[in-house]
Symmetry: none
Subunit: 252 residues, 2 copies
């Protein structure tokens, strides 16, 4: 799907922005860039800001009209501020990406971005199947065009990655060590409790919520086997220390 997505920039004024768009696209795995009547292109500022995505600038197609840019596309989405005169099917970027994933594999999606200062005209927006609006602070709503491309491309990439995700664990399918089994954790808690009694921190006749608090905290971390071993190593050391003190009985 990412290979089948075209980013279309209409009448971009600053070539630096075109370079930043190319970088954002390549970061997210997009490569099809089409420029409709850019003010200055090619331009050194575009290459400077592309920061290694010069290949996208070199393969970018420059056309005279938006119609030309969209001719071979199957779904066209225009970026829009809120409150346009004519209501249009309005998606947020995540909804747009969800729609994009339902396209047939050979279908081509175009996302169209307007001028830095005033976006797309109503005529241009009416060439689009859907509109997409990035939810912004209403008091400061004008996104840089490369920032807008970054968000859209990110959502498309997330949608592609989500399609084949099994519910992701919180930290790492590739955690380096096996997680501790529950029985190992229970042995750890027994060991911890005994040690706390040995050092007179826990009064077995009045335990209050101490073990519950420690348990809750350690369980929240979902420890791995090495971490459990390290903790038990510390407890063993502390127990020996307590035992070595016992004959003297000099509790400080």
């Amino acid at each position: 799907m990412l290979e089948q997505t075209r980013i279309v920039l209409v009448n971009t004024t600053h070539p630096g922005n075109i370079g930043a768009v190319a970088r954002a696209m390549k970061n997210m795995g997009l490569s099809d860039l089409c420029l409709v009547a850019p003010k200055l292109f090619p331009h050194p500022d575009a290459f400077a800001r592309s920061s290694g995505a010069a290949d996208l600038l070199e393969s970018a197609r420059v056309v005279e009209t938006l119609d030309q840019a969209l001719a071979d596309c199957h779904l066209v989405v225009g970026t829009s501020a809120r409150g346009r005169h004519i209501p249009w099917p309005l998606l947020n970027p995540r909804q747009m990406a969800a729609v994009a994933t339902t396209l047939q594999p050979q279908s081509r999606l175009a996302v169209v971005f307007g001028r830095e200062d005033r976006g797309l005209t109503n005529e241009e927006l009416q060439l689009c199947h859907h509109h997409v609006h990035i939810p912004t602070n209403e008091a400061f709503s004008s996104l840089n065009v490369a920032a807008a491309v970054q968000v859209i491309a990110y959502e498309l990439r997330m949608a592609v990655l989500d399609q084949d995700k099994a519910e992701a664990p919180q930290w790492g399918v590739s955690w380096d060590i096996d997680l501790a089994e529950n029985r190992e954790l229970e042995l750890l808690f027994d060991h911890l409790e005994q040690t706390l009694v040995d050092i007179d921190f826990l009064d077995p006749d009045n335990p209050r919520q101490l073990m519950n608090r420690l348990r809750r905290m350690i369980l929240r971390a979902v420890p791995d086997k090495v971490e459990v071993n390290v903790l038990r190593g510390i407890l063993t050391k502390v127990e020996r220390l307590a035992a070595s003190r016992k004959p003297g009985g000099d509790d400080v």
Copy 2:
């Protein structure tokens, strides 16, 4: 939640990027910007690229160390490329935003972004509870720092707008006690390290990964203030025990 989120930029080289970050933040409704030892700031390029978000640049705090930037924060997330030496709880931006929505309203979230050319150091990443990775094209993975801030801020904003659909909270929407501040956690780690040296469990001349492992585990749990106090109470008890043994020197 957006008001309680701090964006921390470490050693930023180009002031233009700081301006672009301010713009992205304000577009998404964030306002707390903290700069750790920026190369050039204030600078006209920052104001030029901020494009109307000069208020964020004017209120930005400049500090010397990352510790200072994080001292009053409760959850710290560092942006990271994949493949670090020590695995750490790794979230994608959407998962990170889902976790952020489960914080108590008064809790402060910090998201830390590294240098343009090489990101955060391992030491800096180990100051973080979680890491967040923006899923990029592996062949071209280095995002512009303002683009990265844009994605993170967008996900936080989407999560706020979309609270109903956020994933199940990680541990209770109504945690009963305030989370520990970062400075309290750092004092805990200092205390823990000293205690482990005192009981001869940690060799200061050959520390290996011991403190990193313990740190990673405890940070994963995102402890509250009472939990930190309980742990420090245990450490104090153990230290006294170690001190009471010292004269005899009878290490068992």
